[in-house]
């Protein structure tokens, strides 16, 4: 079931026991707590969760983009292509950023510099990492813009972000990420800020260009529909931890955590009979500064028993490729 690359050798990216904390006025908050996952070359991994689940912080921690202070990666390893990124010198991690691992952010409106041309912003990593002269880098920017199917790319490189629509800006962001042919692209909710009609286009484009470049993709999202269509594997995060992980198909067919089951029930599906009611998850997302001692989801879980409130469930194997952090993972059915 696993992709060939993983069977053959070490994964491209291996995150081990990653913890990231933020110091706040109300004490230290563990935004990411003991997170581990692997990613093979060319594979697409979706990290799913609601706001505050730690999915974006996980992504930012990989490239060490957590602002310090107040944030701090307090433990763990991020092994990329054999090297622990957390142990690199500043200039070494900079040589990886935008070059071998690129990032696409959620807000295409604010993630582009309003006072620089689109072309310059796309050419910038090429000039920086490949030492390509600006004129040649700008030519490559034109090429990249046509690759993300921006019409009239030659004249568009001279435009400024405010002259672009949201979808065009996100295309420009994708072109920027592709600039140095990275082995890994991390897309942090790349379509959340876009119109629904544009979302599908951008995701399809992202999937297509990463496949063409044989780049791995980490897709951070709260949208399970996105996961089903584009991801090979899924990690579901809740309260800063991974609570379920496995192949996308497997998670869809046999979710093994009440939170994942709840998420699926709250999303409309085309294969449901019309008239079926959506079932929301009761309660509020957890407060990271004050997590319960047991399972973080227990206060909202319909099946919670006393054990759930005192004993934190470990992430254990629930199938050949399937991990779940529920005491009762083998008794659940969707």
């Amino acid at each position: 079931m696993r992709t060939g690359a993983r069977l053959m050798g070490a994964p491209l990216l291996s995150v081990r026991n990653l913890s990231t904390e933020f110091r706040t006025e109300r004490g230290t908050v563990k935004a990411v707590d003991d997170v581990s996952f692997d990613l093979a070359a060319g594979e697409t991994l979706a990290i799913v969760g609601e706001s505050g689940s730690g999915k974006s912080v996980t992504a930012m921690s990989i490239l060490r983009l957590i602002p310090d202070p107040p944030g701090r990666i307090s433990a763990g390893e991020v092994v990329f292509d054999g090297r622990d990124l957390l142990k690199l010198e500043d200039h070494e991690i900079r040589a990886i950023r935008g070059n071998r691992i690129a990032m696409i952010f959620q807000e295409p409106m604010s993630s582009l510099n309003p006072s620089l041309t689109i072309g310059l912003q796309i050419a910038e990593p090429i000039n920086l990492h490949r030492k390509t002269p600006w004129a040649a880098a700008m030519d490559m920017a034109v090429e990249l813009l046509s690759r993300v199917r921006l019409p009239d790319a030659r004249s568009r490189v001279k435009s400024y972000p405010h002259q672009f629509s949201g979808g065009m800006r996100q295309r420009a962001m994708i072109a920027m990420a592709l600039a140095c042919q990275p082995q890994l692209i991390i897309a942090d909710e790349p379509t959340t800020a876009l119109d629904v009609t544009v979302q599908a286009q951008i995701l399809a484009l992202l999937k297509e260009v990463t496949r063409a470049a044989n780049s791995a993709l980490i897709l951070i999202t709260h949208d399970l529909g996105v996961v089903a269509r584009y991801a090979d594997r899924v990690c579901v995060m809740y309260g800063g931890r991974i609570i379920e992980a496995g192949p996308a198909r497997e998670i869809y067919a046999r979710p093994r955590h009440p939170y994942t089951i709840g998420l699926m029930a709250s999303v409309p599906r085309l294969d449901q009979a019309t008239g079926t009611r959506l079932v929301p998850i009761d309660g509020q997302p957890p407060n990271l500064a004050n997590l319960p001692p047991g399972c973080a989801f227990a206060p909202r879980c319909r099946n919670a028993v006393d054990r759930c409130r005192v004993e934190r469930p470990a992430l254990v194997r629930s199938g050949p490729e399937h991990l779940s952090a529920c005491h009762f993972h083998d008794q659940l059915s969707a």
């Binding site: 490239l63 983009l65 935008g98 952010f105 912003q121 405010h162």
Partner: protein
Amino acid sequence: MQAYVIRRVLALVPTLIFASLIVFITVRLIPGDVIDLMLSTNDIGADKKSREQLEAALGLDQPVYIQYFRWLGAILLDGSLGKSLWQNTSVMEDILHRLPLTFELGLMALIVALIVGIPIGVYSAVSQDTIGDYVTRSFAILALALPGFWVGTLVMVFPAIWWGWSPDVKLTPFTENPLRHMGQMAIPALILGKAFSAVVMRLTRTMMLEVMRQDYIRTALAKGLATRTTILRHALRNALIPVVTLVGLQAPVLFGGAVILEQIFVIPGMGLLLLEAVSQRDYPIITGVFLIVGVAVVFINLLVDLSYGLLDPKVRYR
């Protein structure tokens, strides 16, 4: 853009007419009038007859509104600002003769303010809440709090007491010895630019802190850019837009400071001309200087508005 400039210049006319009206009237509200001063200076008995003769000769026997319209008519018809009541020289020539020095002083002060204020502001923002940040911020408050005339006086007095040195009283013209001239202008320019540089520093710091929080800075870092390049290429330009506005707003403040410092350092610029004119109640010179300064301030602000287009691509002039 051309149409924009033309419309802006046309819009100046009512502004300047209104300003001239205020200046023209308030100058005449200064206690003591020029006739009394002239009579007492020349030791002529202040009898009613010689008073009336003098008033008529200077055109001050007319009602104020007639005087105003005559003055305005002279400006509009032959570009004249009238004649000095004391020297009978052309006010326009007097001002144009003195203007370059004041302009030079103001420009030097502005350059000092920007050269000192912007880099320190950036440094202070980047090292927010470190000792360096506190030290530079404290110096900025100090520079703001010390009045220019007081610092200027100290610079005149203390080196003279300690080392027997004081700035030259006679200003060497630029054409005679440029280096010596610039050296002489440097001290008043530094003092004049001091408070302004503190304001520039604080605004640059605030704006940099704001800009460094923006998403596009994170994008720049995610591309692998070094902090230095990120600041220079991505942050500074966006942070400087309000600093440019400040330059426009501070122009009249700079002129106010220049008047005092020209007096202290005996620089024969417009400020000195104005002070002499005020003490002599030489109305045409006072109104003339204010009008020219008004025109200058308005044009500086037009330049400031036009320069936004260079910094911010979203700005379009229509």
